[in-house]
């Protein structure tokens, strides 16, 4: 049997779309893990990145730590977290946040740092205070980079949230891992397609945000 038609059959079978363990439920779980992890990562990384970019302080340390963190295998982090806090949502969240923080942090920092220095200088000379300079002059100019960081983090989080299934949680990873265990490869591939679809949707969402939030004066310059 053709693998493509197998996936198609699996995706279109009414049984898979209903009840506990159906596609809608798994998708919702998957999205919940991703969104919570991304939000938490943003809450940590955005202010930190803005502050480091604005002040230039600790930049060296943070950028190096982030780059080191990027090299961490997420599954390794998950296993370590399970060892530390036991099975549950927390270790999954820890692993996903550790994955999402570096791209947000580094892109935000780089974005703010690479704003033409005459812009904050002029803002200060006109009588803006520190937070006003950051929010009204630096962030709008750095926004493309900040959104890029968030988009990267979102896509990575969504594709990696499959690992939740490794510690008996839900999410689309269930189809992949259960399918592998039972040698039901249509289900494995179907799950993967759904994950990819979510990731692509996230890309689309952030592209839309880029178009609506970034000033034309900045967007034109950065292309």
């Amino acid at each position: 049997m053709n693998i493509l038609s197998g996936i198609f059959d699996w995706l279109t079978s009414a049984d898979n779309w209903s009840g506990a363990g159906g596609i809608p439920q798994r998708m919702l779980e998957h999205l919940t893990y991703s969104v919570v992890a991304l939000a938490l990562a943003a809450v940590i990384a955005l202010p930190l990145g803005l502050w480091i970019g604005h002040t230039g302080r600790l930049a060296f340390l943070v950028v190096n730590l982030s780059n080191a963190a990027r090299a961490l295998p997420t599954v390794g982090v998950l296993i370590l977290a399970v060892a530390l806090v036991g099975i549950g949502f927390t270790p999954v969240l820890l692993a996903l946040v550790a994955l999402a923080v570096p791209p947000i942090l580094v892109n935000t920092y780089e974005g703010v740092r690479s704003v033409d220095p005459t812009v904050p200088a002029a803002a200060k000379g006109m009588g803006m205070r520190g937070p006003q300079i950051l929010l009204r002059a630096e962030v709008p100019v750095a926004l493309p980079a900040i959104l890029l960081g968030l988009r990267t983090a979102a896509v990575q989080t969504i594709s990696t949230a499959t690992i939740a299934a490794l510690v008996s949680l839900g999410g689309l990873g269930r189809f992949v891992f259960d399918g592998l265990a039972r040698s039901e490869y249509d289900q494995v591939a179907g799950g993967a397609v759904l994950v990819a679809a979510l990731a692509i949707a996230a890309e689309g969402l952030f592209t839309l945000l880029m178009i609506t939030l970034v000033s034309p004066g900045v967007r034109r310059r950065s292309t």
Binding site: D116, M126, Q132, P140, G217, R220
Partner: protein, 375 residues
Amino acid sequence: MWPAMITFEHVTKRYPDGTVAVEDLDLVCPTGQITVFVGPSGCGKTTSLRMINRLLEPTEGRILVDGNDVRERDASVLRRDMGYVIQQAGLFPHRTVLDNVATVPMLLGVSRKEARRSAAEQLERVGLVPELGKRYPYQLSGGQQQRVGVARALAADPPIMLMDEPFSAVDPVVRGDLQREFLRLQDDIGKTIVFVTHDVDEAVKLGDQIAVFATGGHLVQVDTPERLLAAPANEFVADFLGGDRGIRRLTFLASDRVGLDESDVVDSTVAPGLLEALGDAGRDWALLVGADRHAVGWVPTSGVPAAAAARPVERTFNPAADSLRVALDSALLSPAGRAVAVDDDGRVLGTAAHADILRAVTDEVARSQRVEAAS
């Protein structure tokens, strides 16, 4: 708000690394006038300027605005009362031109609508058409960006303007335009302006008063451009002002005492005998004028006075308004070696030879020295 006076009292600025950028500066920037800080690179001009709006703090001494120490006021609030223009304009790339200009009024709490309305007025003031207000900075030329920078600094009508090499990033032609418009604008608004440049010509053109700094942050001389050119305090200033200091002085000498000659001004009805007589007197050229007494051009006294054969008058001078520099230029550009004097309406008053102009230079220099000795 009315213009304010800025006073430096024993101001010294030492950077943390030990560099003394400004040393014991005493200086008054008078109300409603343009004070230009000029001097070689690294002599502390920018440092001095940035201490006025507290972007830097003096190590010693104090700076007063209308008698009040600038440190008595919150730095950000103080800065909103002082327009600030920098070399690269520093426009906000994410804001339209109009919103860039509206920045300070909005910081001061003016409504967006009102701020935009006054921003549109400022744009017009600096010679930009209102349509440009909708553009973003990247859509402007360098000269337009500088104009927007000036408009933005003026938007809240601050009594003081601080300008750090605002015109130095544009080409010489645009710079000339910006300088002329800037002077015209200052005639209207009469702000107290501190203007930093390292270009002596710009200083002489714009300054009511020029402060010359030397490396190490010493103020060497403060004077009007005219007196600075006439009597540099020492060799450093003389060197800095450059080789053609004498020629530049002509800019400040009036041309109203240049002796004019009307005998070579002719119209098309002139009798041939008269031209011949001029030629015999050693004049190879006569100035042909039309019925309205506007100059047509120089015609040879050996031929017929036809407009078609006339050589154009490239530059004229108005004795009531122009300097001897313009008069001399007019003479040097003329095939006859004679300057053409015209009145306010462009009617020819007469002509003058190089020698007549140089005689006037000698007289004017002597006169200004007498005035100086008497004062």
